[in-house]
């Protein structure tokens, strides 16, 4: 296989598999298990879950997947094609059965449509529906026609028989570019045209391929979607603000900002907040997993461009790129001094002892003086005698 040739290491290992016959897309058993364990880690599962994922991924019958493309740019597919552990073909040829995908289909035209119809009929209630791109709804959805009928209808039809629906990319998840003002086609996200159905949203423009792969493998392994947030996004990927895991966060905390592209602060890797970074209001795991599998720091903020909030409805394609983000710090800021934090020294034992000693001394001396004094009656003669002499 191509990838095997690419890395040139494990070409001959396909035959050495025990139990995973022909299913590993040119990977060694070790490599494959590492991949599955990696997926488990991405999902936040324990490492032995990797084995179960591996089992699911190599099951004899591969779950069928129907991939429909609406108003999209194929960016999601392109992104997916650039997944390297494993490669996309491992997924679509060995792990799942990608029965229909306009860009990746071997067949074309009526042949492809016929295969799609056949697959849906055979696997009714079992296949996974993936949609990329937003759905035009104006004028009966005529602005996106596939095989002579609006994609709106195709999606509604396929959704009826789908075991799970995944909306990949921002367009499918919340409308994305096509839904931006003035939205001439009245583009809507998938979940809005499928009311009452659970649509797993994997937003992003493009979305990170591993968020998609991990979600699919979770579905295969457990037969149910991973934990989702209120916007039906998998929590493992969209649970935290980019701001919280950003490698430039210390600069933000220290108040060091790049002020314009190419300035000293920008070259030193200071925080991009002032350039309009939307990290503080965007929920995604970009800083944690990066893009393109070329090592750490390979994501927009990492290479010096402010995050523009592509995954977040109302931010990406909506807010101006260099407008400031609304900082959503849901974790209470503990690194700030409180308004009334206690300051000043308390009572030290030595100081207390001195005060007590002085008080005791004063009382003692007073009492001593008091004891030796006249009580007034006995001395009255002397007083009057002296008093008389004074004037």
């Amino acid at each position: 296989m191509d990838t095997a040739n690419d890395d040139g290491l494990e070409t001959g290992t396909i035959q050495d598999l025990d139990g995973y016959q022909g299913a590993l897309g040119g990977l060694s058993r070790r490599q494959f298990l590492k991949y599955c364990t990696g997926v488990a880690a991405t999902l936040g599962l324990s490492s032995w879950m990797g084995i179960r994922i591996a089992e699911a991924a190599t099951a004899a019958t591969r779950p069928p997947v129907i991939w429909l493309s609406a108003q999209e740019c194929t960016g999601c597919t392109e992104s997916l094609l650039r997944a390297y552990h494993p490669t996309l073909e491992t997924l679509i040829l060995d792990t799942i059965s990608l029965d229909y995908h306009e860009a990746l289909c071997t067949g074309a035209g009526h042949q492809a449509e016929a295969y799609k119809a056949k697959s849906m009929q055979e696997n009714w209630g079992k296949f996974v529906l993936v949609v990329d791109g937003s759905i035009p709804t104006k004028d009966g959805g005529i602005y996106c026609m596939v095989a002579g009928k609006p994609i709106l209808e195709a999606v509604k039809e396929a959704a009826e028989g789908a075991a799970a629906i995944i909306a990949i990319g921002s367009c499918a998840s919340w409308g994305g570019v096509p839904s931006s003002d003035p939205n001439p086609t009245l583009a809507k996200p998938v979940h809005e045209i499928l009311p009452g159905k659970t649509v797993i949203n994997i937003p992003g423009c493009p979305p990170n391929p591993y968020n998609f792969l991990s979600t699919v493998l979770y579905l295969l392994t457990f037969g149910r979607p991973p934990a989702l947030d209120v916007k039906n996004r998998p929590k493992f990927a969209y649970g935290r603000l980019i701001h919280e895991n950003c490698e430039r966060r210390p600069h933000f905390d220290a108040g060091r900002f790049a002020l314009e592209f190419g300035d000293h602060g920008h070259r030193l890797g200071f925080c991009l907040y002032k350039l309009g970074c939307k990290g503080p209001e965007t929920y995604a795991n970009c800083p944690a997993i990066g893009f393109g599998d070329v090592g750490e720091g390979n994501w927009p903020v990492g290479i010096g461009h402010p995050c523009f909030g592509c995954v977040e409805q109302g931010i990406g394609f909506t807010k101006p790129i260099h407008a400031l983000a609304q900082v959503k710090t849901y974790t209470p800021p503990t690194a700030f001094p409180a308004v009334n934090s206690a300051k000043g020294e308390g009572v030290s034992p030595a100081a207390a002892a001195i005060v007590a000693g002085v008080a005791g001394l004063a009382v003692g001396a007073g009492a001593m003086a008091w004891r030796g004094m006249d009580d007034g009656k006995a001395e009255s003669d002397r007083d009057s005698g002296q008093g008389g002499g004074a004037p």
Partner: protein, 393 residues
Amino acid sequence: MTAITHRPLGGKMVTKPFLILGLFLAIAAYFILRRFLFGMGDVSNMSNGYPIGTWVVLDVVIGTAFGCGGFAMALLIYIFNRKAYHPLMRPALLGGVFGYTLAGLAVMIDLGRYWNAFNLLLPWYAQPNSVIFEVALCVMAYITVLWLEFWPAFLERMPLAFKQRYRLDQLQAFLKRYMYVLVAVGVLLPTMHQSSLGSVLLILGYKLSPLWNTTWLPLLYLISALAMGYGVVMMEATLVQRTFKTPSEVALFARLSRVVAGLLIGFLALRWGDLAWRGYLGLAFAGDWDGNLFLIETALFLAPIFVLLSRRRASQRWQFLAAVCLLAGGSLYRLNSYLMAVQPGNGWTYFPSAPELMITIGIICLEIMLYLLFIKTLPVLPGSAAEPHGRPS
């Protein structure tokens, strides 16, 4: 009118109490050295919430009130022409000399930028709106006046031949002739700065509890200074009498007591009346920190009133007790209004550190040591050659 003479007490200088006091002074000197080498934070707990600590409050605000004996007696003897009290004048004056001089010393320790202190005297830096400016100038002038007032004690001690040789006898005559000017100035200056010590607090605004913060503060401070002045004379004379077996002045004090009681009644009436007028009477009985401090103060002022207006005032014991209560009340009033009833907010707390207290104690010890030195070597205490002091050596 009998002639008033003074004579030195005499006796051994280095006694056991003197050495103990000296030990405390040495400890204080060590901490004072540290303060100048490493900064105030090294020895004190003063902070930017409580920038005025024990050095100013105990040594200056309360210390000068204790030094008001000279002021109070001068007012009585020279202004109201009550010569009967003349025997008390010079010891009271000496108390004032040291009370004020050592308050000046404490200020120099406390000033954060002491090397600039002379700026107070440079006219182009003067800031006449500042209450502290007035207090500083007044206190400096008063220290000078006190030493001049006390100067005759030195002159009397000098041999006649020595004085004649340096024409000091002329100075003595000059001082004697114009002493009344010094006395008048010596009454005016404390009137000004003791009342201004109260005015200083007006700037605190909300930081100082309304129980203390009133525009009557200058008058309250003046009255309390006078009362404390009489109190300190009573206590001092009693203690000296007990310690050195000098003639008792109980009878004198018995008559003074009405004056003191009058002052205290005036003080309390003004304070409570003002409080009621401003509608803060409830705060006094709120049962909280401030309210309780206020009530303790009042109790300490009421006790001497009752003692001094009763028949007990003839008793040395009760006089002493009244004086102690009065001084405690006055000190507490000053301590509260400068420190304990001040709440700067923003989470600040303050309690003096041990070295800070030791410096204050050391200065007080120095005061006592110098007082003992002076009464033993200079003609301060009343007495004549014909009637020697009880303890000759």
